[in-house]
């Protein structure tokens, strides 16, 4: 409106036209919706889990029994399942991912590196249910017929590698999670490594270090915050994965020591049992599980963001 006047009103610092105020309020309203949704979400999780929190208290986290008939619920098998599958996944994906990132950042020619990174980032876009679909017909038979028997022969004296081989279970779920998390580690670690200033590398090489020594002892430590951030980000995603996991984890509510055994994660039991939870207590126990998962992923995500932001904004190791 003001622009159609013959002489535009000079905008003095501190003054705002009517249009500006409207714009400010409108956009604020939309932004506030984000706050509203988050508040409602937390309020709903907290409220719906109240009966269970009241009955079990902190013992919920240590309880190993999940009995919908006796209404006795404990979260430990699911917390354990979630943690062990995610950790095992990281054990596989960190060396693979950081290794690939090193190759792409340090050794590969730039064109090839970008092309490869592009392909790897596409992996991150594949929906979880498709990973599950593929896992049922490729990973599960592979684990059942080759990998788990081989591990059993090699490490069968350890409790983690004992028991019947089913194909589904903690280990298979971990392998699928590893495939799903590798792209994040590769992508973000590569970016962190690329940000390391050239002179760091050149100084090390000038001192007579081999390429590998330069990379491993100078470049990687410099980029460690970003790499660590990518690991936390992957962990956060792995913890919340639902579909691919429930299709391969075996869905057993008992805690097992063996990695070949069927297990459960929080996300998987929510997917399987939520639709049939009758009664306030059963539903509350499930929502409480969701609350636990929610809190854990929030913390891990926050840590991840802190680390990644610290790297990209201030430049790696300097951000001490």
């Amino acid at each position: 409106m003001a622009a159609t006047a013959t002489a535009p009103a000079p905008s003095r610092p501190g003054s705002r036209s009517k249009g500006d105020e409207v714009a400010h309020l409108v956009t604020l309203a939309f932004a506030a919706t984000v706050l509203l949704v988050a508040v409602l979400l937390v309020w709903n999780l907290w409220g719906a889990s109240a009966p269970s929190r009241g009955k079990f208290g902190w013992g919920f986290l240590a309880g190993t029994n999940w009995d919908p008939n006796a209404l006795d619920f404990g979260a430990l098998p699911f917390i354990y399942g979630t943690v062990i599958t995610s950790l095992l996944a990281l054990v596989i994906s960190i060396p693979l991912g950081v290794g690939a990132a090193i190759f792409l950042a340090e050794l590969a020619p730039p064109g090839f590196s970008s092309a490869c990174t592009f392909l790897v980032e596409l992996l991150a876009a594949v929906p979880s249910v498709i990973y599950g679909l593929l896992a049922i017909f490729t990973v599960v038979p592979l684990m059942r017929e080759y990998i788990e028997p081989a591990l059993k022969t090699a490490f069968g004296y350890l409790p983690q590698f004992q028991g019947p081989i089913l194909g589904v279970g903690y280990l298979t779920a971990a392998v699928v999670l590893a495939i799903m998390t590798v792209p994040y580690i590769v992508s973000i670690s590569r970016e962190s490594l690329l940000e390391v200033p050239r002179d760091q590398r050149e100084a090390a090489l000038a001192l007579g270090a081999t390429r590998w020594e330069t990379t491993f002892k100078v470049v990687v430590p410099y980029a460690r915050l970003g790499i660590l951030g990518s690991i936390f980000l992957s962990l956060a995603r792995a913890l919340g994965e639902t579909m691919a996991i429930t299709m391969v984890v075996g869905n057993d509510t008992t805690l097992h020591a063996s990695w070949f055994a069927p297990g459960y994660t929080i996300a998987a039991i929510l997917a399987n049992e939520f639709a049939e939870a009758t009664g306030k207590m059963y539903t509350a126990a499930l929502v409480e599980l969701g609350l636990v998962l929610f809190l854990v992923t929030i913390v891990i995500n926050a840590l991840a963001r802190l680390l990644v932001v610290a790297t990209t904004r201030k430049g790696s190791a300097k951000a001490q």
Partner: protein, 334 residues
């Protein structure tokens, strides 16, 4: 860009313009193959009535009916008294078919097995861990049993099929009764869980050494081997039309008014021991007149024409007395 928006708009509008009475139900996977066929057939006869049935397990059927998020439920376990008490609107049990729960297995080199009562209980209690266990071998002389591990598969979701199976196990094994007991969801001593009859069948089909309990049709449709089970009279009976019908013979004569009955471990030489009715759970009060009329129509059709589809899918049709009793119950829906 504009054309695609227009197309999308027409599609969206069009899908709601065709006025169909949409009815939603959820529940048991046990009768899903025949319910799927029925609802499709019924729709072809009555194009304006679409009954959407989602097989999510009897547990979910009861839960969603209680929450009021579906128009009807379906369950292979008759609702327990506490569950009925929790309903805001009372619901009626309408038996639809009689089916058999079979132990399907995937044992390399073996096509036929007899499961004694002790063997079946032993497998699911985790006591029998290899296929060549003496308990299994005893009932199967002459069959070459491998030393493969027994991989037990059960339901991960709340299941009426689980109830029927564990109801049988509770009747024949005091140890089972004292331990896991019978319900739609129990604490399994051993095994891997899968979603629905479909998931259990899928897993057994792909895993050598696996054994699971599924409704007969799932084993038939997927050409999977299933065993004969020792019944109350001591004979080994395989599930089929005759043996399942025989299991319901007693119940047919003395069906309670609310149709809640268990026919596992039924007496009789030819009775299949793990058989069960399965029920549609219909609310007594349906405020929407069109919905009510549609459901009533379906029930009448199901009790008359629908029953003809049973045999082809391996379910036993309802005995005549039961049908007559149900037709009277339809009047209670208002």
């Amino acid at each position: 860009m504009k054309t695609s928006i227009a197309l999308a708009g027409i599609l969206l509008a069009g899908s709601s313009l065709v006025s169909a009475q949409a009815i939603n139900g959820a529940g048991a996977t046990f009768p899903y193959p025949i319910y799927g066929k029925w609802f499709e057939e019924f729709r072809q006869k009555n194009p304006s009535i679409e009954i959407n049935y989602q097989s999510k397990g009897s547990g979910a059927g009861i839960a969603q009916l209680t929450a009021g998020t579906v128009d009807f439920g379906a369950s292979d376990m008759p609702m327990k008294d506490e569950q009925i008490a929790a309903l805001k609107v009372k619901a009626l049990h309408f038996p639809t078919v009689i089916g058999g729960v079979v132990p399907t297995f995937n044992v390399p080199g073996v096509t036929d097995l007899k499961f004694s009562q002790k063997a079946l209980a032993g497998i699911y209690l985790g006591k029998i861990t290899k296929w060549n266990d003496p308990l299994i071998a005893k009932a199967n002389p002459g069959v070459k049993l491998p030393s493969t591990d027994v991989i037990v598969v059960h339901r991960a979701d709340g299941s009426g099929t689980t109830f029927v199976f564990t109801d049988f196990l509770s009747k024949i094994s005091p140890e089972w009764k004292a331990g896991p007991g019978s319900n739609t969801s129990i604490k399994w001593p051993v095994g891997v869980g899968q979603q629905g009859n479909e998931g259990v069948a899928g897993m057994v089909k792909q895993t050598p050494g696996a054994v699971g309990y599924v409704e007969l049709i799932y084993a038939l449709q997927n050409k999977m081997s299933y065993g004969a089970v020792e019944n109350a009279a001591g004979s080994y009976v395989k599930a089929d039309l005759d043996t399942v019908t025989a299991a319901a013979a007693n119940a047919a004569k003395s069906m309670p008014a609310d149709f809640r009955v268990s026919i596992t471990n039924a007496p009789g030489k030819n009775a299949y021991p793990i058989a069960s009715f399965t029920w549609l759970l219909i609310p007594t009060q349906i405020p929407d007149a069109q919905k009510r009329a549609a459901l009533v129509n379906f029930l009448k059709w199901m009790l008359a024409d629908g029953q003809k589809d049973c045999a082809a899918l391996g379910y036993a049709p309802l005995p005549k007395q039961v049908v007559l009793q149900e037709q009277k119950q339809i009047a209670m829906i208002h």
